[in-house]
Each structure stands twice: as structure tokens, then as C-alpha cells.
């Protein structure tokens, strides 16, 4: 279980997160929603160690992550799919996957499992990743994160700008991962996606979690969506 407790974080003198707390349980999808600038991406970057945490703690099964150097965090089983994919554009699909596999010294079995989730990538192994379509790039970004065999998966708006068929595919993949016990934190702006995938929805505003709702009987008309997301 990943537990974020009262963290403060920001960029230089600009504090973005203020006492933010959140938990991600195995086999659950926690959807994080909020307006632009609320601190959603900064929260993910704080978990992965790219933004320094100045107060509070981030613990993974009792082990502190916030004190580790950034490159040690993925080795503890945290996979991160950043907004905008951020692939190694000059490298092929196969090389991107290989780089993902090497950190935790995973081999052919992990590679095959990851490619079985995204058969289309198997057909494009030799293709340069920057020449893939947007949906395929997103598949590769998720596949690369899954090469770490993460126990916690962080996704920053993975369905942004994708066509409906790709969105369905990625949703299905996230459902598969959920059933395999991965704890997922999904930053998302689409209410319908959140309602389809999430077990809990956390609303972030001004750098803190204002409210967490269990996805039980929620609908697009639930007032919090209007209050915190503006839809």
C-alpha cells in the first residue's frame, strides 16, 4: 500500500502541495481529479521523486520513498506514465521496452507479458517510437512502465487526446492490471473514465485533497465534479 501523509512540495520558492494526503490500495484504482494547477501532476512527481518533498511522508508498505534519490524509487516498484508519454523518441519500440526491463533486471517473461497486453506493439518492435501514432505511443509509455512490474502505477492523463478505440483499449488494460493487484493512481479529467475505472475519487484543489468519495452510486451529476473539476 502507498500512503502519502501530509506532504508539502513545490518548485523552488513556489509551494504547490500543502499537506496533501492520499492512499492507494492494492487492486484499486484511485482517480485524482481537479482543475488545472491544482497540484495533481506535482503530486505524482513528488511520489516518483522528481519534486522534493519538504514535509510529510510517502511510504510504500512501510518503506519511506520520500527520502530516496529519484532513481531508486522505480526500483521499489513504482511505475510512472507521465503526461505527454515522454518516450525515447529516437529509439525503437523494442529498445524502449528493453530500457524499461533492465532497471529491475526483468527478462523475456515480463517482456512477453507486457507485449501480450499490447499486441499492436509487437507488430511494431523495430519502428522508431517517435513515428508511432499517439495511441501507440501511449501504449508504449504504459508498457515501458509495466516492464518494472510495478506494485503501484501512476498515470498522468493517459487518455488525453486519444481516439475512442484507444481509450477503450487503455481502459481495458487498466482493468486487467487492477485485477492483478496493482495499486493505480490515475490523474484524469474525464468524468466518465473516472466513473468507469475508479474505486475512489480524490478531488484536489489548492495543493491538497479536499474530498475523497467511494465510487458507489456516483454519477456525472454528483456536485463535486462541478465544484472541483468544473464540469
Amino acid at each position: 500500500m502507498l500512503e502519502i501523509a501530509n506532504i508539502d512540495a513545490g518548485y523552488g520558492n513556489v509551494q504547490v502541495l500543502r499537506g496533501l494526503s492520499l492512499r492507494a490500495e492494492p487492486g484499486e484504482v484511485t482517480c485524482v481529479m481537479g482543475r488545472n494547477g491544482a497540484g495533481k501532476t506535482t503530486m505524482l512527481r513528488a511520489i516518483i521523486g522528481q519534486v522534493a518533498v519538504t514535509a510529510g511522508s510517502i511510504m510504500l508498505n512501510g518503506t519511506p520513498l520520500h527520502t530516496l534519490p529519484a532513481h531508486e524509487v522505480p526500483k521499489r516498484g513504482i511505475g510512472y506514465v507521465p503526461q505527454g508519454r515522454r518516450l525515447f523518441g529516437e529509439l525503437s519500440v523494442a529498445q524502449n521496452i528493453e530500457i524499461g526491463l533492465m532497471t529491475r533486471r526483468k527478462g523475456a517473461a515480463t517482456r512477453d507479458h507486457v507485449l501480450s497486453l499490447f499486441p499492436r506493439l509487437r507488430e511494431r518492435l523495430a519502428q522508431r517510437s517517435s513515428t508511432l501514432s499517439g495511441g501507440e505511443q501511449q501504449m508504449l509509455a504504459i508498457a515501458r512502465a509495466l516492464c518494472l512490474e510495478p506494485t503501484v502505477l501512476l498515470l498522468d492523463e493517459p487518455m488525453e487526446g486519444l481516439q475512442p478505440s484507444m481509450i477503450t483499449l487503455i481502459r481495458d488494460t487498466l482493468t486487467t492490471l487492477k485485477s492483478s493487484g496493482v495499486a493505480t493512481i490515475l490523474v484524469e479529467q474525464r468524468v466518465e473514465t473516472a466513473l468507469a475505472l475508479a474505486d475512489r475519487i480524490a478531488f484536489v484543489t489548492n495543493g491538497t485533497v479536499a474530498e475523497i468519495l467511494a465510487n458507489d452510486g456516483l454519477s456525472a451529476k454528483t456536485p463535486q465534479f462541478h465544484t472541483f473539476v468544473g464540469v
Binding site: I48, Q50, P69, A70, H71, E72, V73, P74, K75, Y80, P82, R86, L87, F88, G89, E90, L91, Q95, E98, I99, G100, M102, T103, R104, A126, R144, L148
Partner: protein, 311 residues
């Protein structure tokens, strides 16, 4: 991998045969090119594969050159030991430079490595009592031998250079296919993204720079013994720029690019200087054409055009 290995072995076979086919004038030239190609291969490990644009590699080359040359001439060390000393000096100084310089990046890294190299150059001049500064030291012919192997003679010199080049090339080929090689490439492509996947950029870059230094040190050590001269001119910025040009010309991030670049550049200067004193103008024009039409170098362009298997 089979195609790549076959190509590398074919190149080595051609170089082996060249000694029997080409006129003697070219034997020394090609021996020199092979040694300089080892230097450029080292540079390519840092720049072409890891993305470290260094302007300080003359320091690592000179470290190998001077450790070997002074070892033989001043400290009276046996030639074989002096050669090992040269390789180690190149690697150690590159590691020490890296520990400090790799705390910077981009343009700052270039400037810091340049400053280190200039410090090395000035140190050689300052201790002229031992190094004989710009004048340099000619290594006695009798000292340029191990057992009955006389490195000052054409044939042993050629084959020693070929042996060094072969080892360096095959190690390079294995390195870039290894886990470390892939980490280096990841670093070149994007440091931040690599960190996100669990790579320690400082560690990977330090290892790459140290290996690069070992190559430069080996080339320097071999140069001292095979050509019998050490001098401060080898520590000037020109010797930091040369491997960069070789790599850019042949193809950064390709195993054979440094050799191809060194070969073409050497003969471009050699031939054009026979026609004009403005031979550097010819070199400049050639580089301009390269940048315009093949910015990734000759082998880089070939790889882009379809020879994707080229390592």
C-alpha cells in the same frame, strides 16, 4: 548481431591484408589512423553513446602518452609496465575529471572539461624540467620494444596497432550491446526519463567517461611506444577537437564511425596538403557538406537509410 559481427571482422581482415597490399608509405599512416581511431572510439563512448560532449579528451590521451613516455624515459619502467601505466592513467584521470565535471551538464560540462584539459596542458609546460614542454621527448628506439618485438619497425608497429584496434573495436561492440551500453544510450536520449525508469545518471555517465578515458589512455600509451615521441602539443585543445571531428564525420553512436572518420580525415588532410597550403579550408568545406547532407555522419546516415542493424 551476426551481420554486425561479420562486418567488423571483415574490416579487421581488410586492415590485416592492407599491410601486404599497400605501399610502405601507407603502413605508418594506417598504423597512426588505427591508434587515433581507438582514441576516437573512446570519445564516441562518451559523446556518441552517452551524450557527453567533452572538450577535455586531450587530457586523457596525454595522460596515457606521458605516463608511458615518462615511465620509460624518466622512471626507467619496463615498456610493458609503462603501457599498462598509460592505460590506467587515462582511465583514472577521466574518472577523477568525471567526479567533478559530471556535476554539471551541457555547455557547462564542455567548459569544465576544457578547463581540465588546459590545466593538464599547462602542467606539462610548467614541469618542463621533466616533460621538456613543447619540445617533448623522443623515446629511445631501444626502449620501444618488448622482448624481441621492436615497435619502431614498420611491420610490428602495424600489427601492434591492428591488435590494439581489434581489441578496442570488439570490446566496443560488446559494450554497446550490453546492459551498460543500453543504459548509456538511455542517458543520451533523455536523462530525466532514464531517472524515471530507475537509472542513476551520474553513475552511468561516470562509468562511460572512465571507459572512454581508458580508451584514450590506451591510444596515448600506444602512440608513445609506436611512434616514439611525446610532446605538449598532444595535450592542446586540437587533440580534444580531433576525435570529435572523426566521430562526427564517421557517425556518432556507431562502432565503426570513429575509424571511418579518422581514415577519411587523415587522408583528406594528407592529400589536400599536397595541393595547397590551405588544406584546412578543404577540411572545413568537407565538414560543411557533411553537416548539410549527413548530419549524423556517414554511417549514421546509412543507418537511417535502412542499415538499421549497424551497431
Amino acid at each position: 548481431m551476426k551481420r554486425a559481427l561479420a562486418l567488423h571482422i571483415a574490416v579487421l581482415a581488410v586492415l590485416f591484408a592492407a599491410q601486404f597490399v599497400l605501399p610502405p608509405y601507407h603502413h605508418t599512416n594506417i598504423a597512426r589512423i588505427m591508434v587515433l581511431a581507438v582514441f576516437a572510439m573512446g570519445y564516441n563512448i562518451a559523446f556518441g553513446y552517452t551524450g557527453l560532449l567533452s572538450l577535455g579528451h586531450a587530457l586523457f590521451f596525454a595522460a596515457g602518452l606521458y605516463a608511458t613516455g615518462l615511465g620509460i624515459e624518466v622512471w626507467g619502467v619496463p615498456t610493458a609496465v609503462a603501457l599498462i601505466l598509460g592505460v590506467a592513467a587515462g582511465g583514472a584521470i577521466a574518472a577523477a575529471t568525471g567526479v567533478l565535471a559530471l556535476r554539471t551538464g551541457g555547455v557547462s560540462f564542455m567548459i569544465v572539461t576544457l578547463m581540465f584539459a588546459q590545466t593538464g596542458y599547462l602542467t606539462i609546460l610548467y614541469y618542463g624540467e621533466y616533460t621538456r614542454g613543447d619540445e617533448g621527448i623522443v623515446i629511445a628506439r631501444t626502449a620501444r620494444a618488448i622482448s624481441n618485438l621492436d615497435f619502431s619497425a614498420d611491420t610490428p608497429r602495424y600489427f601492434t596497432a591492428l591488435a590494439l584496434f581489434s581489441i578496442a573495436l570488439l570490446v566496443n561492440l560488446v559494450l554497446v550491446r550490453s546492459r551498460l551500453g543500453r543504459s548509456m544510450i538511455a542517458m543520451r536520449e533523455n536523462e530525466e526519463r532514464s531517472r524515471m525508469l530507475g537509472y542513476d545518471p551520474f553513475r552511468v555517465k561516470l562509468i562511460a567517461l572512465s571507459i572512454s578515458g581508458l580508451y584514450a589512455g590506451a591510444a596515448g600509451a600506444a602512440y608513445a611506444v609506436l611512434f616514439g615521441y611525446i610532446g605538449a602539443s598532444f595535450a592542446t585543445i586540437q587533440y580534444s577537437i580531433l576525435p570529435l571531428l572523426y566521430v562526427l564525420l564517421g557517425g556518432a553512436g556507431t562502432t565503426l564511425g570513429p575509424f571511418l572518420g579518422a581514415l577519411l580525415m587523415f587522408y583528406l588532410i594528407d592529400i589536400s596538403s599536397g595541393y595547397t597550403t590551405a588544406h584546412l579550408f578543404v577540411v572545413g568545406a568537407a565538414l560543411l557538406v557533411l553537416v548539410l547532407f549527413a548530419p549524423k555522419g556517414i554511417l549514421g546516415a546509412l543507418r537511417e537509410k535502412g542499415a538499421k542493424w549497424l551497431p
